[in-house]
């Protein structure tokens, strides 16, 4: 276990310190494939894949917290739902001179960030223990779910809220309805890609190193003069922003916001995606969500209970033995972990 912690800390640090890495090459391939898919196929895949990409961003928002900051959250769905409902409500009610979808996206992301910042500051400034924090995020998930269910005249309650497909506009010059799958697919990809790159770059910067330092030895970081609660709040706010952004885009893509976007079950699903994909790897979480969600889509139609059961068992296996998830397996296969092991083996 200790050796594994060493590997993960040393590897993350090396990734942070150096420039382009193998993971970046893999990311390049992943996004190239994603960009190419609508050119090669059509139909259902082009429809559903953007939703899974957004799930990927959602999983990434958790990996940011869990793998990098060492903060587990069972409440990412809360921010996702805030984003989804914000989008729905803005598009429905706002009479704005600019594209209400753009505003909706901003409000969704900002809403997710705001809820996270407030909750984070409230809890971290008191030094709330990590295990209690998990319970609080679980409660947050339930609070959001119950809230959208009960204020039904605004949110549509149990039935959810219908959301239009957004229109892509550039002032008065350009207007394209995103009703068709392919254009919508690319719009989402064009937002998802910079989001991924931005987060990766941020986590390799000074900020990212500080976050990892907090995970490695919080007391030492405090004693070195870092405002640890502030950094934790910021990283939590970032994860809320990403989740809210994903939720807002999801709402316009899937045409609805629904209480099931919040709640314990969806929050748990995010944890499973991130665990299986690899909590220490942003790319791993992103791809893991896409892969597992795709499998779920197929297997849920065939045998929902056994598939859910299998996920639960795989989750146990990941927690016990495969802590680095699919990303860890990939790293072992493609050599970067082997290289690290050699270096440490020869150390004094």
């Amino acid at each position: 276990m200790t050796a594994d912690v060493t590997q993960s800390a040393a590897t993350s640090w090396r990734h942070l310190a150096a420039g382009l890495r193998r993971e970046d090459l893999a990311a390049l391939i992943v996004f190239a494939v994603l960009a190419a898919i609508p050119l090669a196929v059509s139909g259902y895949v082009v429809f559903i894949l953007p939703q899974y990409m957004l799930f990927g961003i959602l999983a990434l928002s958790l990996a940011l917290l869990w793998g990098h900051a060492g903060i587990v959250s069972f409440g990412q769905a809360a921010f996702f739902a805030v984003g989804a409902y914000a989008m729905g409500l803005v598009m429905k009610h706002a009479a704005l001179p600019i594209n209400s979808a753009y505003v909706g996206i901003l409000v969704g992301a900002a809403g997710g960030a705001a809820v996270a910042l407030i909750t984070g500051y409230f809890l971290f400034s008191a030094g709330v223990r990590a295990t209690y924090f998990v319970v609080a995020t679980l409660a947050l998930s339930i609070i959001v779910e119950q809230t959208v269910k009960s204020f039904s005249n605004v949110t549509g309650g149990w039935n959810g809220l219908y959301v239009d497909r957004m229109t892509l506009t550039l002032g008065p010059l350009f207007e394209l309805s995103l009703f068709d799958d392919a254009p919508m697919y690319y719009v989402i990809l064009v937002i998802v890609l910079p989001a991924y790159v931005g987060v990766v770059a941020l986590m390799r910067s000074r900020f990212g190193k500080i976050i990892v330092g907090i995970r490695e030895n919080e007391d030492r970081m405090l004693a070195l003069g870092f405002d640890v609660p502030l950094y934790k709040t910021l990283v939590f706010g970032l994860s809320g922003l990403l989740a809210g952004l994903a939720g807002a885009l999801y709402a316009t893509h899937a045409n609805f916001a629904h209480p099931s976007n919040a709640g314990v079950l969806f929050s748990t699903q995010v944890v499973i995606w991130t665990a299986i994909g690899g909590r220490h790897s942003l790319l791993g979480a992103f791809v893991g969500a896409i892969v597992v969600a795709s499998l779920s889509n197929y297997l849920n139609a065939v045998t929902p209970q056994y598939w859910q059961l299998l996920q639960g068992l795989v989750f146990i296996a990941v927690v016990i033995a495969f802590r680095r998830g699919l990303a860890g397996l990939a790293e072992t296969l493609f050599g970067s972990r082997g290289r690290d092991r050699k270096r440490h083996g020869n150390a004094a």
Binding site: M1, V72, F74, F122, L123, A126, V128, R129, A130, T131, Y132, V134, V135, A136, L138, A139, L140, I142, I143, Q146, T147, K149, S150, V264, T268, V271, I272, A275, Q305, Y306, Q308, L309, Q311, G312, L313, F315, I316, V319, I320
Partner: protein, 284 residues
Amino acid sequence: MEIAVSVIADTILITLVLALAAFGLAIIYGLIGVINMGHGAMLTLGAYFTWWLTQHGLPFVPGVLLAAAAVGAVGLLFEHFIIRHFYDRPFDTLLLTWAFFLVATEVIKIVFGTDFRNVASPFAGAVDLGIYRVPAYKTVIAGLSILVILGTAVVFFKTTLGIKIRAMIQNRDMASLLGLNIAAMYKLVFGFGAFMAGLAGGLIAPMFSVDPYMGNTFLVRSFFVVIVGGIGQLLAGTLFGSFAIGGLETVLALFSDQVVAQIAVFFIAVIVLRFRPQGVFSGR
């Protein structure tokens, strides 16, 4: 006057039912520091086992006891094969017990189906106290809750076994050096906590319709009971915490609806968690 009596009566009943439901969690977290995220699932299992046994002709009381024992056994198996390797890593036990919830829920769905089930209440109707009619069954449960909690407290504080367990909690290494079998103690506590959860589930079953997720509503509430009341304060903490959470919910529900009341209580509980994470009663 009547409203006051009904509020008081409701509050007492809800407090005690919630105390019973939270007790298993309080035991496990308070004594061995494991946040059992599978607590709700154990409750649900207790309810389903009770349903199955009563469906097959067993009377209610033996049915509940057997169901609770079965859940206790399941808990013991889970402890033995998985949990006991992770006691020094609280995060992992949290995730693994959550995985227990996932797996158990799916198994329930596979074995018992997803339809709502019903367990007939052994004491139907209400007791007329003159000013207020108290639901008979709920009253019995409330009484049992007091018995169970007091009984456990007696064992904990007055018996040799209780002393051993308390010694182990105070100083695990020392207790081990003194020859106490730590592994066995942990098993006992975990199994007993599971048994309690199963018992609560079986007893509560007639009050709600039984579905695969029924235990979950009690999961977060139970956490808040333990956090507000005080970790490790099994008697006073559980009762006070239940009173705070249950009572607050009842009172708030008078002014709005049940859902809003629940949201408000969660809000307040999170606030308490922040300002006094060790609970009201904790001596630590």
